[in-house]
């Protein structure tokens, strides 16, 4: 049985090579690699600037330029394929201000955000934050929403934020956008969205011991009986709606 070889063994001698400039220094790397794998290929060993290698952790945000182009481009090193002659540097950390708060004492009003992050109103709507975002989050739009007091909108617009900090690095108002968005999302989740009633009911039922007998039965079964119970358990159909109920309600 053959297996797919591990990811790092892909570069071969025949691969087409391209030059890239890592912090200004030229290296020849295989043209198909991501920036992260190219930097490793060049001989660097990551300690900082590398995390999930899957595009969600925000450790490897990278800033680069292309020859003959003044524009600053950004991307995640683990997701962006190298381009010939690209000039790049990673920004693995940014010292943005983060407010500390007692979350249980908040209630979800715009005032709370304004008090914790008064710099919110230093935003001049230049949109540099949105332009620099490697996740294409509309950063300026969620900041604008917060200036209007619309926490819910900010929570939704900022949802894909990976907290890499590039927005803060470019901000002339010196806002820590990604920290403010984190607060907005938590306020939205805890205070501006209705709580799940079924969750409270279930927790109370468990507390009251409603399922202990059924679980004891399962734990007491021999393998054969357990397999049979498993095999015969009723399956909720894939297309069933919220109100579906099983035929057998004895262990509910």
């Amino acid at each position: 049985m053959s297996v797919v070889p591990q990811e790092e063994s892909t570069a071969t001698v025949e691969t087409k090579m391209v030059p890239i400039y890592v912090m200004g220094k030229r290296y020849e790397v295989p043209a198909t690699l991501t920036i992260m794998k190219a930097i490793e290929y060049a001989g660097y060993k990551y300690i900082r600037g590398c995390g999930c290698r899957g595009g969600v952790c925000g450790a490897c945000s990278t800033v680069y330029r292309k020859p003959g182009d003044y524009k600053i481009y950004t991307g995640l090193a683990c997701q962006t394929v190298v381009e010939p002659e690209m000039y790049l540097t990673q920004i693995p950390f940014y010292p943005a201000n983060r407010a500390t708060y007692d979350f249980a004492e908040l209630t979800g009003t715009p005032d709370e955000i304004n008090r914790l992050y008064p710099e919110l109103f230093r935003c001049v709507a230049c949109n540099a934050c949105t332009k620099v975002c490697p996740m294409d989050v509309q950063v300026m739009d969620y900041i604008a929403a917060l200036k209007r007091g619309d926490i819910k909108a900010a929570a939704e617009i900022s949802f894909d934020c990976i907290q890499c900090g590039l927005c803060a690095s470019r901000c002339m108002g010196e806002l820590p956008q990604y920290h403010i968005a984190q607060l907005a999302r938590r306020l939205n989740g805890a205070y501006l969205t209705p709580k799940a009633e079924h969750l409270k009911t279930m927790c109370a039922n468990i507390e009251a011991g409603r399922y202990d007998k059924g679980l004891a039965e399962l734990k007491g079964m021999d393998l054969q009986a357990l397999r049979k119970t498993y095999q015969e358990r009723e399956m909720e159909p894939a297309t069933a709606g919220e109100d579906w109920t099983p035929q057998d309600r004895s262990y509910l």
């Binding site: 797919v4 991501t34 290929y41 060993k45 995390g51 799940a196 468990i206 399922y211 679980l215």
Partner: protein, 556 residues
Amino acid sequence: MPYPEELKQLIKKVEATRAVRVERKKKNEEVPFLSLDEREEMLKYHPDVKEEGRRELKVGPSKGYAVAHEMADLLEARSRVEPEKIDLSRVEYETDVLVIGGGGAGTAAALLAQEQGQKVIIATKLRHGDANTMMAEGGIQAADKGHKDSPYFHYLDIMGGGHFKNVPELVETLALKAPDAIRWLESLGCNFSKWPDGTMKTIHGGGTSRKRMHFAADITGAEMMRTVRDEARNRIADIQVVEFSPAVELVLNEHGHCAGAVLYNMETEEYTVVKAKSVVVATGGCGRLHIQGFMTTNHYGATADGIVMGYRAGLGICFLHTVQYHPTGIVFPEQAEGILITEKFRGSGANLVNIDGEQFVNEREPRDIEAAAIIKECVVNGKGVPTPTGKLGIWLDSPMIDMLQGEGTVEKEFPGKHILYERFGIDIAKEPMLIYPTLHYQNGGLDFRSTGETTIPGLFVAGEVGGGIHGENRLMGNSLLDIMVYGRIAGKAAGEYARDNARDGKLTLDHVVKYNKEVQDAGVDGDRISPMILPDYTDPRTREKQLTSHYVGTLR
């Protein structure tokens, strides 16, 4: 890169059968699920059954137990640093509870330990939150809709997924504490996907009998991680986070209790001692060992360090003879190889189809069955789709989701993956994805109890590093659950232990001295050291030229 012409031609075969498959899905006409006997037959194609893939351990508490070579290489190895060189009288950090690992389990543990009135240090290899938790996409299971589900059915599903070999008390606690873990996250402001009245949206996962998979779009783990991390940051007065400083050994005391750890600061290359009244090991999994050469979904630091430290200190291991291969990892484009495609795509209706556009397995079997079926279809049946670099894959037909649930669903429900593919010029709402199984989860781990305790007083275990909950195969959505349920349990227990029961004593690394001797006596290759800490992806030709670099294991 977009699909090349050859693959575009093959996609036409998928499109040719799509309308019929969508109609069948709407009518609940599914490819039949395999019976338990048929499952066993299918598992013969699973990588776990390869005898040549594992060997019996020559040393340690579980001597004679066969695990993957890559894992055995780390366990049959001496310590990174000679224990005699470490001055245990020079304590750099002193705290009540030391949590090793800054992922979901570790952070939940830190919060609960702090709530017992204890000072906490989180020591973590990379940044706080650099963990597999952050990468978990699909969801978190909890039986909390009482009109159709209960912990009884959740328990049954977990056991069936794990081949009925799971440790029952661990499973029972997981199922019973699940709703409370969700409630806790909700109270901390985690944005689960909900209906307007607050009801949680829930869907199926592989091996679930009821729709109990909660999610936060397709970044459930990231949303959970950033929420609990934010909360930990608010408690900075009590919870100190020491980053880029993985633990490399546990420290015991003269009474045989766990009393701290040795940390390695990767940036300054110093080894320092942390003294604590209790310790929680929450170091996660082992994907970066690339077992049997498989690509992995895991984050950069997933190198089984906690297994190594715990094993040296005297904890047994279990269920490490099985490893979870996630059925659907990206196999094309090559740049994204190994990256996880959440099971939620299949839960939302996307079929798996072969090169001829035919289905060959129900897309909601447990993960081991699903992975084995894909490997069989490619390798044995010859119905895999060849990629430009000569690998094989299977189509995951994502465009079905828009046809079933309305235009725009893929983009809205799977924003992360939609953007990822868009960068390569592929619109997954219109074109299917090419996938192959990828190394995903360490089913087994250190022995521990449902109280979070271990056989060593003062040492607690939580999350992927622990073994037994999931038996031989974990179901989707039970890992995010595991880290929250057992992270909270272990944190609370460690906090209470530190407050009420801890016994001070002289620190010692004698267990490491003894282990090193055992390794030497067993005649094991003397150059092997562990824990690994980070994988080595340096090009071998570059490494050959690094003439004055001194490598200790994979690190120079």
